[in-house]
Point group: D2
Chain length 326, copies 4
Amino acid sequence: MQEYAFMVHRIPVGILGGSGYAGRELGRILASHPKFEVAFATAKERRGEPFAVGDRELTLLAPDDAPLKSVELVFSALPHGASELWVDRVSSNGVRAVDLSSDLRPGHTSRDVPYGLTELFRADLVDAEIIANPGCYPTAILLALLPLLEGDHIESGALVTIDAASGVSGAGNAPRPELLFAEVAENFRAYGVGNEHRHLAEMRETVGRFNRDVDLLFTPHLLPVARGILATITVPLRRMPTDLLAVWQQRYAGEPFVEVREQLPALRDVIRRNVVRITARPVAHVRRPTVIVFSAIDNLVKGAAGQAIQNANVAFGIPETTGLLG
Amino acid sequence: MQEYAFMVHRIPVGILGGSGYAGRELGRILASHPKFEVAFATAKERRGEPFAVGDRELTLLAPDDAPLKSVELVFSALPHGASELWVDRVSSNGVRAVDLSSDLRPGHTSRDVPYGLTELFRADLVDAEIIANPGCYPTAILLALLPLLEGDHIESGALVTIDAASGVSGAGNAPRPELLFAEVAENFRAYGVGNEHRHLAEMRETVGRFNRDVDLLFTPHLLPVARGILATITVPLRRMPTDLLAVWQQRYAGEPFVEVREQLPALRDVIRRNVVRITARPVAHVRRPTVIVFSAIDNLVKGAAGQAIQNANVAFGIPETTGLLG
Amino acid sequence: MQEYAFMVHRIPVGILGGSGYAGRELGRILASHPKFEVAFATAKERRGEPFAVGDRELTLLAPDDAPLKSVELVFSALPHGASELWVDRVSSNGVRAVDLSSDLRPGHTSRDVPYGLTELFRADLVDAEIIANPGCYPTAILLALLPLLEGDHIESGALVTIDAASGVSGAGNAPRPELLFAEVAENFRAYGVGNEHRHLAEMRETVGRFNRDVDLLFTPHLLPVARGILATITVPLRRMPTDLLAVWQQRYAGEPFVEVREQLPALRDVIRRNVVRITARPVAHVRRPTVIVFSAIDNLVKGAAGQAIQNANVAFGIPETTGLLG
Amino acid sequence: MQEYAFMVHRIPVGILGGSGYAGRELGRILASHPKFEVAFATAKERRGEPFAVGDRELTLLAPDDAPLKSVELVFSALPHGASELWVDRVSSNGVRAVDLSSDLRPGHTSRDVPYGLTELFRADLVDAEIIANPGCYPTAILLALLPLLEGDHIESGALVTIDAASGVSGAGNAPRPELLFAEVAENFRAYGVGNEHRHLAEMRETVGRFNRDVDLLFTPHLLPVARGILATITVPLRRMPTDLLAVWQQRYAGEPFVEVREQLPALRDVIRRNVVRITARPVAHVRRPTVIVFSAIDNLVKGAAGQAIQNANVAFGIPETTGLLG
C-alpha cells in the first residue's frame, strides 16, 4: 500500500510511560508527524491495553519488553524519580532520549543535560543525546520572563509575583480523591502554596542565569478544566519601556511557536496547539513602574508532548515545526 | 393555616431587579428567613414571569407597579447606574433600602451612605435608612486585608498584588457571546486588566481610610464555574508576625461569618454560604517579609444577597445570623 | 446558651458512613432540621476527620466507637453489602434505622422491610423500626411511572424504555480513574448497559406489584455534573388520556415534594431540593398512543438523604416536610 | 518559499458563514488539508474580524465582497433559511457548493440534491455540483440505523426510540440566555420534545427509503459540554441476529470513518475526529427481541465540517480521507 511505503522511511521512536496524559498526547501528536513513527509504547500497569496513535492502535508493552534498540529516539513520560534510570538505559543503547520528567532539569540534578526550553537553548539541542524537557509551569513562565531578563528590565531586588492556574491533567491520571470530577467541578483553589512548589527550583535556576537579584513567588491553582495553564505575572521594572509589547515582539520575532498579541490570552487560544501566547500590560495607578505579563499554554502540548517533539525535531535536524502546525 | 398565621408576623420586604442572579439569590435565601417575608419582586423586561421564593412562586411585577409603601425594606438588585434613583424613591416613601449596586459605594459617589461591609462598619448600619452593599470582589479582598491594615502590618509604599478569579454569575445574566457555555467551559482568562477594573475605586477608597501609602494592583479572572470568588493576595509586610494566622483569628474572633482556617480555602467551602474563608501563609525564599492571603466567598451570597440580608438584620436589630446559617 | 437549650430537645440521630456523598448530604440537610440533631457520624477509613453539620463540625468516629444507644435513629449510608449487618445491629439496640443502601430494598432481599418510596408506601412507614430507602434512579423512575401503573394506562405487553442520566456523585467518592475530572468533563457515555443494572431489580419488583405484563428497559448514562438525575421514559399506552398531565396532577395533588409541571424539568430545577419534578408529553407522528414522561431529582436529596429524612419524619410522626423545605 | 510553492497548487475554497461554530471548524480542519486552501471566509455581522485557518489568519469579508469566482468550491455554513439562496448564487457562478444548512436536505425541500451522508450515498456525490450536508443528529442516528434498515431487521410497525444528547455548540453561538454558562453548567434537560424536532423530517425521509413501516421517536437533550452527540437508540427486531455486532461490522467493513466496537462509545472517543463510533447490545429480560444501538460523533466534525470536507473530497475525486485523519 502506498501509505506503508511512505511510513517505512520515517524515524522509529518509542514512548516510555504511555498510559499517562503526556504519553497519550505524544501518541496523538505523533500520529500526524511525517518524519517520526511510533514503534512502541510502554506502561507497566496497563501493559496489554491499547495505545492510540491517532486512528492507529498499538498495544502497551511492559517496560522490560520495549525493543529499545529498534528505535532511534525514545520519549520518556515516566514519573519523576523513575525516569532518569530509564533515560540512561536508553542512552547506553545508543538511542537518543527526550525526558519529559523533572529528573534531569535545572535545579533537580547536578548533571549538565541540555534543557529543552527551545526558544532559549535551541543551539544546545542540535544532535543532543539526551534532552531534559521543561516543566509545564516553567515553560509558560520562563518564556514570559525571558525578554525582561535578557534585556535587564527587572528592578533590582524585585519580587516577581507569579499566580498561575492549571487544568487537572497537570496532576496526572493516578486516581486521587481530590481529582474526582465531583470535587474539581465548580471549584477553584490554590495548592503547593508558600513558595514551596516542586517546579520552583527549575524556574529559579534558569532565572538565576540572568539575574540573581530577583525573588520569585510562585502560587499554582487548580482549575476545573482538563488542560491549559494561564500565568499572571507581576514584575516591577527599572523603568517602563516606551513600547512595552515590543520587548516580547522583538525577542520572539520569527519564532513559530510564540504568539505575542495585544489581546489577553485565554486557554482556548492555545489548547491542543504547541504555542505560548503572551501579552503584557503596564499597571496604572501605582507608584513604581510595573508590568503584568500573561502567558498561556496547553500544559500537555507546549508544556509537555509538543515541546518534546519540537526538541526532537531540533535534535534530528528536521524543520522545527514539523508535525506541530495546524 | 398554621404557617400563614406565622408568616403574617414577618416584616414585608420587596426586591427590585428580581430577574438577575443577585435578585434570584435573595429569593432563595429569604425563603427560609424567619423574620423577613418577600412581598414582591420586580423586573422590567421579565415582568409576568415567575419569581421563586424557595418553593413559593411570586410573579415579577413591572417596577412601576411595585407597592413600595406596603413593605418596610427594599433590596435593590438593579444594575449599576439604574439603582440610585430607585433607592431614593424607596427612601422618599419612608422605606429602608439596601442597595446591591455600586451606585452608593465608596469611590462611586460623593454621598455619605453607610457602607455595608458588616464586619468593619457594623455600628454605622444600625437603624440605617440606606445601606450601600459592598461589591463581591471588594468583600473578599477587604476582609482579607482588614486585619493587616488595622494592625499597620503592611510595608510602607508596598504594592499589594491581588489576583482574583470569579465565577460567571458575577457578570450577570444578560446574554453576551463571551459568556456562552461553549466559550467559558474549558477556558480561563483575565479581564479588566491594567488596574482599571470598576471595583478598584471601592477598594482603594476603603483601604485609604487606613493607609494612603499602599498601592493596589487588582487583576480579575473569569472561571468556568457558576459562582464563587477566590482572591490570592500578596502583601509585603513591615515584619513577619510571630503567629501570622493569629492576626486574622484575633480580629475576627466571634465573627459568625468569617472562617479563619489553617487550610487553603476552596470555592466549595463557601458556595451557597454567607461566609468568607481566609488563610494566610508566609512566603519562603524571598528577601523581604511577605505574606500570601487567600480569601474565598460565594459572590452571590457573602458577595451580594447574603451580606445584604446580614446588613438588613443589623439595620432592623434582628440577630445578625438570622436566616443565614445552615 | 440559648441555642443549646433549644437543641437538647431535639431527637438525637446518628449517621453511619459519614464520609461518602450521601452521608455528607445528611449532615448538610440535618443542620437546619428543627427536630433531629446529629449526635455522631462514623467513617471507618476517615475516622478522626471532620464531619460538617452545616456550620457545626463533628469528628468522624470509627464505626465500633459509635454510641448507638445514645440516639433514637440511625441513618446508614454504608456501602451496599456492608449496611444490612449494621442496620440489624442498630435495631437490636432498640434504635430505629433508615437504610440508604440497597441491601433491604425490593428485589435485593427476601426480608419484608418497609420500602421508603414515601409517596407510595407512606402508611407502611409510620412507627417503622427499619426503612429501606429507595435508590436514586428508582425514585425518579417509579414516581414517574406510578400514576400510569395505578391507573392501568400502560399497554399490555409494552416495552417501557427508560433512558436516564446521572451526575457523578451517584457513583460515590471512592477514587476510580474513570471518575477523574479530566475523564468526565466534556464527556458523556452510557454504562451498565443491556438491561443489567443493579437498580433494575428494585424497579421491576415494584412495578410488578401493579402490572406483571410490562417490560422495563433501563439504560443509565454518566453526566459531567456533580449531582442530579433526569429520566426520559417512553411508555406505550392503552389509549391516550384526554388530559394527559392530569394523570400525574391528580395522583400527586397535595404531595409537598412532587412538582407536576407543564414545562420540561431540568436538573437546575431540583438541585439541592427534596423534590421530584415531572412532566409528560404525548408523542406525535407515531401509530400507537405513546407518552414520554420526564422526571428529575437531585440524586443526593430526593434520591438519598432528603427522602431518608422525609421517611424518618413520617416514622416519628413529625410533619413530613420538617427540615426539607426552602 | 518552499511552502508557498506547494500551496499554490491547492484548490481554492471559500467559506460562507465563517463566524459560527461550523464555519470556524471548517477553518480549523482545512488548515492541514493538503489539497484545499481557504481563500476567503465571510460573516455579515463580524466582517473585519479575524478568521483562523490554523495558525494563519484571514479577515472575515462581508458576504457581498466574497470573490466567489476566484474559488472552485464554497462551503456554506449559513443559517437555515439563509443558505439556499447563497448556494444557488455560488452554483450560478459555476462554482461547486457543499451546504451545511438544512435547506436542501431530505424532508426540507422538494429539490433533488445529492445528500451527503457519505457512507450511504457516496456514488451520488462524485462530481456533484451541490451537496446537502447532513444534520448532526441525523448523521449519528442514520449511520447507526442503516445496517438494520438495509438488512430489514426491524420489526414491522416498530417504534424506534431515539434519545440523544448534544453539546451546546449544536445550538450555535448566537447569544441566548438559556445557553449562558451559568445556565448550562451543572444542568441537563430535554428540548424540542414530543417528536417535533426540526431534524426529524430529515431522518424520517431517509429511513422511509428503506422501510415505511417504522415509527421514529426522537428526543434531544442539552449536555453541559461544548461538543459531541451521543444517541441511544432502542430498536425492536424481527429476530435477534446470531452475531449482532457483525451486522454493523460487515456493512461498514473498509469504511475509514465508521468505528464499530465492542465497547460503549463515549464523546471523548470521537471529539475533534471525523468518525462515528457505534456499538450494539441485545436487551436482556424483555419479551421481544430488542437491540440498543449507541452512536457517538463530534457534532462539529462528522456532524458538520468534517463530513462536509469528506463529501468535498469525494466530489473532487480526491482520496476520501484526505485532511481528515489523525
